[in-house]
C-alpha cells in the first residue's frame, strides 16, 4: 500500500465483499488540528463484536482463499506510525465504519495519492453501488456522489473513458480548491 488512495480501495473492497450497496468515504484534513481523518462507512453485512476484535489481527480473515488478511492491519499500522489510531464500529446487519486518524504533518504519514482517480474507478467498477466521497478541510467541503452522477448521465455510461477522465478532472479540481 503506497498511499491513502490504495488503502481506500482496499477497505472499500471489504465493503463490496460484504454486499454493501452504499460506500461513503470521508477524508477530513485540518491544518489547524494537524489531523487527517479517513472514514470508510458501508451498509454491508457488518460484523459481530468478536469479529471486530479480531479484524486488526493480521492472522484473521473470513476468506477461504488465503490464510491471512492484511488490509485492515496495514492501515492500522500506518495510522499508528504517525501517532494516530484505527477504530472500527460494526454490527451484523448494520454495516461497518472504519476510521483511521493520522497526524497530518508526520513524516511517516502516507501521501494521499490519486484520490480522484480512485473514487471514479470505484464508481465505474461498481455500477450497482452508491459511492459517496466527501472531502472536508479548514477551507470547505466537497461532495461527489456516483448516484447523482449516474442520474445526470442518464443513458450515457459512467465507465466510458471520456466520462471517467472528465469526472476525474472534476473531482481533482474541487479538491484543489479547498486543499490545505
Amino acid at each position: 500500500m503506497q498511499n491513502l488512495s490504495d488503502h481506500i480501495m482496499d477497505i472499500a473492497q471489504n465493503a463490496i465483499r460484504a454486499n454493501a450497496t452504499r460506500v461513503e468515504i470521508d477524508v477530513e484534513e485540518s491544518e489547524a488540528r494537524d489531523a487527517l481523518v479517513l472514514v470508510i462507512r458501508d451498509n454491508g453485512d457488518g460484523m459481530d463484536a468478536d469479529t471486530v476484535q479480531r479484524v486488526t489481527d493480521p492472522f484473521f480473515t473470513s476468506r477461504t482463499t488465503r490464510k491471512v488478511g492484511l488490509g485492515v492491519p496495514l492501515l492500522k499500522q500506518n495510522a499508528e506510525a504517525t501517532g494516530g489510531r484505527l477504530s472500527i464500529r460494526s454490527a451484523p446487519g448494520k454495516g461497518t465504519a472504519v476510521e483511521a486518524t493520522f497526524s497530518r504533518s508526520h513524516l511517516d504519514r502516507p501521501p494521499v495519492g490519486d484520490i480522484a482517480g480512485t473514487i471514479v474507478l470505484l464508481a465505474a467498477a461498481n455500477p450497482g453501488m452508491e459511492v459517496r466521497y466527501r472531502y472536508v478541510t479548514d477551507k470547505g467541503t466537497y461532495t461527489f456522489s456516483s448516484g447523482e452522477t449516474r442520474t445526470f448521465l442518464g443513458d450515457t455510461p459512467l465507465d466510458d473513458p471520456e466520462i471517467v477522465a472528465a469526472l476525474r478532472e472534476m473531482i481533482a479540481e474541487n479538491i484543489k480548491d479547498i486543499q490545505v
Binding site: 473492497q13 461498481n126 450515457t156 473513458p161
Partner: protein, 131 residues
C-alpha cells in the same frame, strides 16, 4: 478548455459520448458483453491492479472491444497479482496472472481482439472468485 467543476460542466462531453455510442450501436449488432473482473484486494492493489483496471477502461473502446470492467475480491493467487478474470460470452472464464499494463495491452490485442491465447493463464480448478 474550460475547467470542469460541476456535473453541468460535463454536459457537452456527455452529449458527445452519447452521440459516439449511438453511432456505434447503429453499426454493430449489440451482442453480449465481455466481462472483465480485476482482483482488487490487498495484494492486487499493492501489485498495481488499479492501474491495470484504468488501462482496460482507457483502451478497450479504441480497440473496438465492448466489455464491462468490474472489480472483485481476492482470487487466492497472491503470487500472481495483478490477476484478471475474463469471460467471453458463452465461454468459460479465464484467469490471467501478473497482468501489468503492458500485459493488459497484449491481452487486448491477442485474446480479446483475435482470440489468440497469451502467456500467463492460471490453470484453475475453477471456483468462483467472489468467494
Amino acid at each position: 478548455m474550460e475547467k470542469i467543476k460541476t456535473l453541468a460542466d460535463l454536459k457537452r462531453i456527455k452529449e458527445n459520448v452519447q452521440a459516439k455510442i449511438d453511432l456505434r450501436e447503429k453499426s454493430e449488432q449489440s451482442g453480449e458483453l465481455i466481462q472483465i473482473k480485476v482482483a482488487m484486494a490487498t495484494c492486487g492493489i499493492a501489485a498495481g491492479s488499479k492501474e491495470v483496471m484504468n488501462y482496460f477502461i482507457d483502451h478497450l473502446e479504441e480497440n473496438g472491444i465492448r466489455a464491462v470492467v468490474t472489480q472483485t475480491g481476492c482470487m487466492g493467487y497472491c503470487y500472481a497479482e495483478p490477476t484478471v478474470e475474463i469471460t467471453k460470452p458463452g465461454r468459460e472464464p479465464i484467469v490471467f496472472g501478473e497482468v501489468t499494463t503492458k500485459r493488459a495491452g497484449e491481452i487486448i490485442q491477442k485474446y480479446l481482439k483475435n482470440d489468440e491465447l497469451v502467456e500467463g493463464i492460471i490453470p484453475v480448478n475453477y471456483h468462483t472468485i467472489q468467494e
